[in-house]
Symmetry: C2
Subunit: 331 residues, 2 copies
C-alpha cells in the first residue's frame, strides 16, 4: 500500500547513544552520548526507557515545542509489551499509539504520522524508538552459554533512543511517499541470521514501492535499509537482481553497517541491529547527507524480523516485514 | 486527540471462540465455536494464531471480498512480539501494520483504519485481535504455583479471534469519531488487579472525548468498556463522579462482565480480559443491539494494561491506556 504526501516535513530529530555507538564513525553527529550501558539506571530495561525519554526531551527542546502542543506520540520497541515506548509516553502525557514491526517500527510510526498530517487530522507528531544491547540480549538470547562463539552472521543490538518531530510546517526535508509492506517468510529459522529472513521482505516492499510510484531505482540517490547487516545486504542485492532484474548494488547502504566501524569494532559481527540502529543512522547520517546535498532523494527501508523466542523454540521460521518512506530534499 | 469521521462504516465482523466463551451468555452470536482450548494445534501460541486466522477468513467470506482487495490489515495481540497478528498477516499477504495497546489494541487498530479511510487514503481495511487463555497464562503468570488461590480481582483471559471489515461503503453502522488516549499510571502495582490500573485511563479518555466533542454523557445510549471487570468498573464509576462530577453508572457496561455468566462461570472471577474479550463482545452483542435499535449511539472504550512481567518483577507500577471509538446507527 503506497501513499503520496504533499505537506509532510521533518522538522527536528534527536539521537541518544550508548558506549559502542559513541565509538563508531557517526559519533560526531549524536546529541547525547553515554559511556556506560547502565545509563545511570539499575536495570537494562529502565536504561532503555531513559534513552527514549532523553531523545523525546531533546527533540522537544530543539523544536522549541512544549509537550502539550504535540498531537500524537507514536513509538515501538523490542521489549516485550513495548514497555520503553509506553513508559516514555507516560512521562510526556501525549496521546499515544503503540506500534510493533520489530526494527521497522520507526518507519511504521512515521507512516502513520505522515498519513494523519497529510490529511490534516493532526499537525505535529513525535515518532520514537529505542533499543538496548543488554536488554535485548537478556530478553531474546538468555541464557547465553559461557564461551559460546558468535557466528559471523549475528548482528549486535544498538543501544540508544531516537525521536523525530514531523509536522505540516515546511522544512528542507519532505516525506514524499511511503509504502506499507506485507509479512514475508521464506523459511529461515536461524535467529542468529535475521538478515537472511528480512532481505526478501525488503525486496518485496522496494519492488512494490517502485511499481506503485512508477519509478526506476535510478530515481533515488540512496536506498538505505535497516538492518540487514553484511550478509543480509548481499542477499538483498542478489534477490533483487534475480527476482526482479533490478540492480540496487550501487545505491544501497545498510544502517547496520554504517553505524559501526566493522573492521575495528569486531564485537558487532555482521553489523548493528535493533530498532534504534536504523533510527540513529537515519536521524544523523542520512539527514545530514541530505542537507549537504550528497543525497537529494532517499528511500529509507525499515526492516523487521518478527521473531519471538517462543516461536523459535517451537521450530517456526522467522516472518519479516519492511516498510518504506521516501524522502526528498526541498531546497 | 479526537477525530471526526464522515464516511467510515462497519461492514462485517467475525467471532471465533474457545470453550469458556461457548458456554457464556453470548454463545448464540458467535460464528465459530471450539470445545477445546487446543484448537487442534500442538501449542497454545499456534492455537491463538489459528483463532485469528479463522476470524480473518470468516470476515473475508462474509464480506465476499478476496484478500487481494483489502488495502490494509491492522492487528495487535498480547503475545510477545504480537506473533499471532504477524502470523495471520503472513497467511493473508495483506499489507500489515502491527499495533500494541494491550487490550485496547483492537480499538487502536480501528482508529488508524478509520483515519485512513476517512481521508481517502485507503478504502478497505480489516482490523483484528486475538487472545488465548493458556497462551496468556503461560506468558504472563508462569510459573503458577500449584494450589494457589486466585484473588477475587483477577480476570480471565478470553480465548478467541475477532476481525472487523471497515470501509467507505455505507452500512447501517458508522464509526463517527474516535479519541486516542494517553498513558496513565496511578501507582497500581498488583498485576492481579489490572482493572484498578486501567479505570483511571478509561476515565481520562472518556472525559477527553466528551470535552473534545462538547457532548454530555447523555448523548450516548451505552458506554462499554473493555475490560475492567467487576471491581474496575466500580472504580471507574466512582472516579468519574469524584474527578469530573459525571455519573456514568446508568450507561456503563463492561465487556469482561458481559462475555461470561459470572454467577455460574466462577472460574472467570472478576470477568473476562485479553484483547479479544472486548472485541468479541463488540462484534456480537454491541453491534447486534445496535442493529435492533436497543442502542443507537455507543461509546466503545478499549482499555489496556501495558504491563510486562519484567517490569512487575522490578516493582514498577502498571501504566494503562484507553482509546475510544464512537458508533452511530445510521438508519
Amino acid at each position: 500500500m503506497t501513499f503520496k504526501y504533499k505537506n509532510v516535513y521533518i522538522n527536528e530529530v534527536s539521537t541518544v547513544v550508548g558506549p559502542y555507538e559513541s565509538k563508531g564513525p557517526l559519533k560526531d553527529y549524536f546529541d547525547m552520548l553515554f559511556d556506560k550501558l547502565t545509563i545511570s539506571e539499575k536495570t537494562w530495561e529502565k536504561a532503555e526507557i531513559m534513552l527514549l525519554k532523553y531523545s523525546v526531551s531533546i527533540v522537544l527542546e530543539k523544536a522549541a515545542e512544549s509537550k502539550e502542543n504535540i498531537d500524537l506520540f507514536i513509538s515501538g520497541d523490542l521489549l516485550n509489551q513495548i514497555v520503553s515506548s509506553s513508559n516514555a509516553a507516560l512521562s510526556f502525557g501525549i496521546p499515544f499509539l503503540g506500534v510493533y514491526s520489530a526494527c521497522a517500527s520507526y518507519v511504521e510510526a512515521m507512516i502513520i504520522a505522515s498519513n494523519m498530517i497529510n490529511a490534516g487530522q493532526i499537525k505535529k507528531a513525535i515518532c520514537g524508538t529505542s533499543s538496548h544491547n543488554l536488554a535485548a540480549e537478556k530478553q531474546f538470547r538468555y541464557p547465553t552459554e559461557y564461551g559460546a562463539p558468535l557466528v559471523k552472521t549475528t548482528t549486535f543490538t544498538a543501544t540508544g533512543g531516537a525521536s523525530i518531530f514531523i509536522s505540516n510546517e515546511p522544512s528542507n526535508i519532505k516525506i514524499e511517499s511511503s509504502t506499507i509492506g506485507r509479512v514475508i517468510d521464506k523459511g529461515q529459522k536461524d535467529s542468529a541470521y535475521t538478515g537472511a529472513a528480512m532481505a526478501p521482505a525488503a525486496a518485496d516492499t522496494i519492488y512494490k514501492h517502485l511499481k506503485d510510484t512508477k519509478r526506476s531505482i535510478d530515481y533515488y540517490d540512496l536506498i538505505i535499509t535497516g538492518d540487514l547487516g553484511l550478509y543480509g545486504k548481499e542477499i538483498l542485492i542478489d534477490y533483487m537482481k534475480e527476482e526482479y532484474n533490478i540492480d540496487i548494488s550501487k545505491k544501497l547502504k545498510d544502517c547496520g553497517i554504517v553505524l559501526y566501524d566493522l573492521a575495528k569494532q569486531k564485537e558487532v559481527m555482521a553489523g548493528g541491529s535493533g530498532p534504534v540502529c536504523s533510527a540513529l543512522v537515519f536521524n544523523s547520517y542520512v539527514l545530514e547527507k541530505m542537507k549537504d546535498k550528497t543525497f537529494k532523494k532517499v528511500l529509507f527501508v525499515g526492516t523487521g524480523a518478527l521473531y519471538s523466542t517462543t516461536m523459535v523454540y517451537q521450530r517456526c521460521s522467522i516472518p519479516s516485514i519492511a516498510h518504506i518512506i521516501s524522502l526528498e530534499l526541498v531546497k
